[in-house]
């Protein structure tokens, strides 16, 4: 509070010394305030743009790294699930190649689960 009083006194003193009428002082104060406001808005906007750009750049970087990671995982999974590896694993688990395969003739084969189609097939 003390500092605010001193500041007010200092401004009053300056105005008295400058012998400015109150109206002019008010106009100057208004212009200065507007200027400061503009500068403030500009600075806020600029810093927000900079921060947003940095954020976008970091997201872009993150996206790139995620893409790389996905590619790495995909390649690893594909290698682990390769036909040769699956076959080896199946043999290790005791599965045997099917030498004799018997086909069973199914009289009605439903190609769709739709009830209407099923009814149509069963009760033509």
């Amino acid at each position: 509070m003390i500092s605010m009083n001193r500041l007010t006194e200092w401004i009053d003193h300056g105005l008295k010394r400058a012998r400015w009428p109150t109206s002019r002082a008010a106009r100057v104060a208004l212009i200065v305030s507007l200027g400061l406001l503009l500068v403030g808005v500009y600075l806020v906007q600029s810093s927000q743009i900079v921060m947003s750009t940095r954020h976008v750049e970091s997201l872009r970087q993150e996206l790139t790294e995620l893409r790389r990671e996905n590619a790495l995982r995909l390649a690893s999974i594909s290698e682990l699930a390769s036909v040769v590896k699956l076959l080896e694993r199946a043999k290790a688990l005791g599965f045997q190649p099917a030498d004799v395969v018997e086909f069973i003739v199914v009289p009605i084969v439903l190609h769709d689960d739709a009830p209407s189609l099923r009814e149509g097939y069963l009760n033509p």
């Binding site: 900079v50 750009t53 750049e57 872009r60 893409r67 590619a71 594909s78 390769s82 036909v83």
Partner: protein
Amino acid sequence: MHATARPRLTVIIALMVLLGGVVLAQLVRLQVIEHERWIGNAHVQQTGVREIEPERGRIWDRNGVLLAGNEPRFAVWIDRRTIESSQRPDEVWGVLARDVAPLIGLTPQQLRDKLSGEYPRVKVKADLSEAIGHQLAGMHVPAVEVVPYWKRVYPQGSLAASVLGFYNEEPVGYYGVEGYYQAPLAGEKRSFFIDHDVWQDPLPLSVPPDAYAPPGADLVLTIDSVAQMVIEEELARALETTGAEAGAIIVMDPRTGEILAMANAPTFDPNQYTETASTDPKRFVNPAVSEVYEPGSVFKIITLAAALDSGAVTPDTTYYDTACLEIGGQSLCNWDRKDHGVVSMVDMMAKSLNVGAATLSVRLGAATFYNYVQAFGFGRLTGVDLQAETPGHVRTPADVTTWYESDLGTNAFGQGVSVTPLQMITAVAAVANEGRLVRPHLVKTIIEDNRSREAQVVEIGQPIRPETARTLTRVLVEALEREVPQAQVPGYSVAGKTGTAQIPIPGGYDDPWTIGSFVGYGPASHPQLIILVRLDRPKTSPWGSDTAAPVFKQVATRLFNVLGIAPDSPVGSNQ
């Protein structure tokens, strides 16, 4: 004001004005007179080109199994000039030796040796993992540039290697679909200017919002990786049991031209292509499309198709088979050099009689015979989407200096014509497909920008009528049942033909070596698979019936099961 103060004040003011003038003059010099120079310098220092290498398109099999993908890797580049021009070069060398070298698996001396060459900017190490790449980048060592890149990987190893080809560090795809589809797979590299700070990090607002290179197109192949594994296993076994030097198997859907599997032996691992390049680069070549051979008796299918379609014969037509037949002054003999008397077309195919085939081509006449041969696609590219396809060669009477009358006879049983295995299977597939010749292809779908384009079935022509195709299929089924039990598949009716061909070399044939082959399709009632087996220089027997036919049986038996193709013939009826 004090009297002595005024001159002092004048001097100070004069000095201030002078100083201000100097500053003003400098400003004018820097910002007006030498404007371009300083702008240029600033541009060089602060602006860089950022290149974005798109991820190469992936390659999948028809069931979504990844055949070719990409892994992120990092390369380390060091610029010697930057070290030398830095304020403390010894300190930079120290960091390189102490921190960087061990991280990239080099000794300090090895690192120095790499940097002491002719070029100031050197790639000292590549194929580094993402963890090491990030660690290096975070160290911010002057002169060290950590560059990410995509490394091509083939998770299935050597599976379908000759179909895929490989991708090298140039970076370009070679052979197979990697070579044929290089442009769509590669995508488009993008580059743009950015302003960066001292750490080379982009300044705000300098990166355009669309700074992204979309990946190359993904390819979905017609290949079925399980079928591929089956034929590769069977081919390897066949080479072992017959002692053949090399071999090839192709499996195709005759109705669509989709190649379901294609194997060659010996083969290579595209992950290790540099080793193959240094030891045996011929392995990169896909003989199924890039190398020609004389098909031998398999070609009799084409000869009989022409004869049946033109109405020159029917399956019951007979001729008197002598052991040899003279055409154009050359004696052409049966493989067994025996005369077989009166034989029908079915007998002729069952016993694979050269005299019979030559009799047919002579009866047709050169013009008709070669018209049919060309209609089946011989002597021109099939148009398959694989790199380095060769068209083969069929001499016709139009080649006045190279064609002889005797060629009409020898060509009828597959001698003197050079074809690729793919041409041969495509031609026979036309017989299985009601006479329609369909272009073989390997890519089923191209996925680009989230849109997919499906390959269409392309009908190249109709060399024979559907009735002829059905008749010929019956003849081939009967002939096979009669003479080649080793190609029979229990429960399925199959049509096919064996082939045994000598291997032409400059000045004659490479006796006693042969190429044994077999082309067959089934189920004959509604063909869904056609299979070609070719074995080069088998040691156990020279005959295709002894070497290639049993391999066909093995492959067909397994594939009918694997692909869920139901039998069409009661078990036991064709055994």
